[in-house]
Amino acid sequence: MKQFIINRILSSVIVIFGISIFSFLLIHLIPGDPVKIMVGINATSEQVEKLTHQMGLDRPLLVQYSHFISNLIQGDFGTSLKTGRPVLTEIVERFPETIKLASAGMLFAIIIGISMGVLAARYKDSLIDTFCMGIATLGVSIPSFWLGILLVMIFSVNLNWFPIAEGTGIRDVILPAVTLGVVGSTMISRLTRNGMVEVLSNDYVRTARAKGLDERLIVFRHAFRNVLIPVVTVIGLQIAGLLGGAVIIEQVFNWPGIGTLAIGAILSRDFPLIQGIVLFMGVVYVTINILVDILYSIIDPRVELSVKEES
C-alpha cells in the first residue's frame, strides 16, 4: 500500500515537471515577439526592452527555466501584467469559487448518473432503460453552455425560481451545478448501468439470492459495491473534466472562478497569468488523480493484493 502510493507520487512528480516545462515554453512558442504582443502596438522600443528584461526573456533558455522553477518553488508564479498583482494571489482568490462550482456539479453528476444507471440496469431492456440511456447520449451531445442558457431561460427568466444574481451563494450555484452535473453524469450513468448488468449476472449475486436476501440488499450491498470500483475511477476522471467544463460554464453564469480568470487573461494577453493557470490546473489535475487512485485501493481490497504481489 505504502509502496503503491509512493510510486504513484513519484510518477506524478515527473508529470508535473513536464507540465512546468510546457507552461514555461508557452511564452516561447508564441509566433513573433511575445513582449510586443503584451505591451501593444503603440509601445516604444524602450518599453519593450524594459519588459523583456524584467521578464528575463533576454537570457538563455536554460537560465530562464531554472529561474522559473526556483521562483515556483518559492511560491512565486510571476506577476500579472494586467493587475500587477502576484499570479498566485489571483489564482488562489478565484480557485475556491471554481472548486465550489465543480464539486456541486460533481454532486449532481453522481446523484443523476448513479441513480439513472442503477435504474436502467434493474429494468434492463425496458422503456426505462432506453429512456435513461437516451438521456445519456443526449447529455454527451448537448453543448454544456447551451444547456446552461436553456436552464436560465426556463428557471430564471420564465419561472423566476433562480433569479439571475451576482453572488455565489447556494441559490446561485444550483443552476450552474445542474448544468455541469447533467453533462458529467452521462458517462457515470452508462458505466453504472453496464457495470450493474454485468455484476448482477455474477455467481456471488446468485449466492446472495440463494441466501434469501432482499432484492434491495442484493442490488446495493452485493452488486453496487462491485460496480463502485470502475465508477469511482470514472468519477475521478470526471473531476478533471468538470474542472474543464466549469471553465465554460463560468462564462454562462458570470461565475468568478478560474475559467473567467483564464479567459480574461487570454483576451488581454496576460502571459504570466496564463502560464500560472496552466501550471496550477495541471498540478490540481494530477493531485486529484493520485487521490482517486488511493481511494480506489481502499474500495477494492484486491488492488492492495495485486500491488503486494508485484512488489
Binding site: D203, Y204, R206, T207, A208, K211, G212, D214, N226
Partner: protein, 326 residues
C-alpha cells in the same frame, strides 16, 4: 421414510432465439429425510438447471413452466418471491460449483456469513459475530476469529468452499443443495469437503441434494442417485445398485468411462459424441445416437420411465421389451 423434497414433472424452459427451449423435461425425484440424493450426468444435461429451479434462482431467460416442487408441506412453485426469500438460506440453502466466484470479493467473510443470520434469525451485533465464528470453526476453518474480518481473496479454494458451507448451514436448513461442490477443487481437498458435508449432514440432521458429474463422488457420499441425460431422468436407484448393476446404457457408459481400480492399465472407454442441445432433441430416445445398444424403436419414440423394482426406474426401450415379455 419421510420425504423432504418431492419434485414432480418439473419442466424448465429457456428463452432461445426462436421460442422456448425445454432444458429440464418432466423430471421426477424425491429427497428423503437425512439422505444424500445425487443427480448425475454430463455437463449440459440439465442438472444445474434442475437444482436452480428448486429455489427459482434461474436468470431472467429461464422459467419453470410446469410441475410441482413440494418441500415438506408447501409447493415451492406456488410461493411468491417474498415467501421464497424466507425459505432460501433458511429452510433450503445452496452451495455452488466455483467458490472463487461465488463469494462477493468486496465484502468480508464475516459480513457474508453474518448477513444470513441477521436476515433469518433476526440476531444482531456480537451475537452474530460469535455465531459466525462458531460456524467457521464447525466447518474446520482455523483462525476463525481473524478470518472474520478478511476478504475472500485471502483464502484458498477449499477454504472458500468451507466458507460457502458455513454460510449454507448457518440457519440449520433441512435441505442443502450442493451444485458440483467439489468440481473446482483439488482432489485431496475434494475428499475433505465431502467428509465435511457428510459429517455435517449427520450432526445437523439435514438432507443433501448433490449435483455432480463424478461417479466417484456418488460412490463416496450418495445414498440414492438420479441419472439425468438431455434434460430427462434416465435412471433412478440407490447408489450401490447403480454402480454394481447399471440398467441404462448411458449409466453403463458413464461407469465405464470413470477410472477405477479394475481399469488400471487398460484403455478407458468413452461415450462417443456429446450431449445434444435442447434444440437438437428429436422424436426418439435422446441417447440413441450415442447408444451401443440402440434399436430401431429408439429412433421413433422416447421411452417412458419404467419402474423396474421397488427403488429402481429406468428410461430405456430395453426394459420395455422385457416387461412385454413378462
Amino acid at each position: 421414510m419421510e420425504n423432504v423434497l418431492e419434485v414432480k414433472e418439473l419442466t424448465t424452459q429457456f428463452k432461445g432465439k426462436v421460442g422456448y427451449l425445454t432444458v429440464v423435461d418432466k423430471v421426477d425425484f424425491t429427497v428423503r429425510k437425512g439422505e444424500v440424493m445425487g443427480i448425475v450426468g454430463e455437463s449440459g444435461c440439465g442438472k444445474s438447471v434442475t437444482s436452480l429451479s428448486i429455489l427459482q434462482l434461474l436468470d431472467k431467460k429461464g422459467k419453470v413452466s410446469g410441475g410441482e416442487i413440494r418441500f415438506k408441506d408447501i409447493d415451492l412453485l406456488k410461493q411468491g418471491e417474498k415467501e421464497l426469500r424466507k425459505i432460501r438460506g433458511k429452510e433450503i440453502s445452496m452451495i455452488f460449483q466455483d467458490p472463487m466466484t461465488s463469494l462477493n470479493p468486496v465484502l468480508t467473510i464475516g459480513k457474508q456469513i453474518g448477513e444470513i443470520i441477521v436476515k433469518h434469525e433476526k440476531q444482531k451485533g456480537s451475537n452474530v459475530k460469535s455465531k459466525v465464528v462458531e460456524l467457521l470453526q464447525l466447518v474446520g476453518i482455523p483462525r476463525a476469529n481473524e478470518l472474520f474480518h478478511e476478504y475472500p481473496h485471502r483464502l484458498s479454494g477449499g477454504m472458500k468452499q468451507r466458507v460457502m458451507i458455513a454460510m449454507a448451514i448457518a440457519c440449520n436448513p433441512s435441505l442443502l443443495i450442493a451444485d458440483e461442490p467439489t468440481t473446482a477443487l483439488d482432489v485431496t481437498i475434494q475428499a475433505q469437503i465431502l467428509d465435511l458435508l457428510r459429517s455435517l449432514k449427520d450432526d445437523m440432521d439435514m438432507s443433501i441434494l448433490l449435483i455432480t458429474h463424478d461417479l466417484g463422488v456418488v460412490a463416496e457420499i450418495c445414498d440414492r442417485v438420479v441419472v439425468m441425460y438431455a434434460g430427462q431422468v434416465v435412471e433412478t436407484t440407490d447408489s450401490r445398485t447403480l454402480l454394481r448393476n447399471p440398467r441404462h446404457p448411458y449409466t453403463t457408459g458413464l461407469i465405464e468411462s470413470t477410472p477405477q481400480q479394475s481399469t488400471i492399465g487398460k484403455r478407458l472407454k468413452s461415450i462417443p459424441g456429446q450431449v445434444p442441445t435442447p434444440d437438437e432433441y428429436g422424436m426418439g430416445c435422446r441417447f440413441a445416437d450415442r447408444c451401443p445398444k440402440a434399436m430401431e424403436i429408439c429412433n421413433h419414440g422416447v421411452p417412458p420411465l419404467l419402474m423396474i423394482d421397488e427403488n429402481t426406474s429406468c428410461r430405456c426401450w430395453l426394459y420395455k421389451e422385457e416387461e412385454h415379455g413378462v
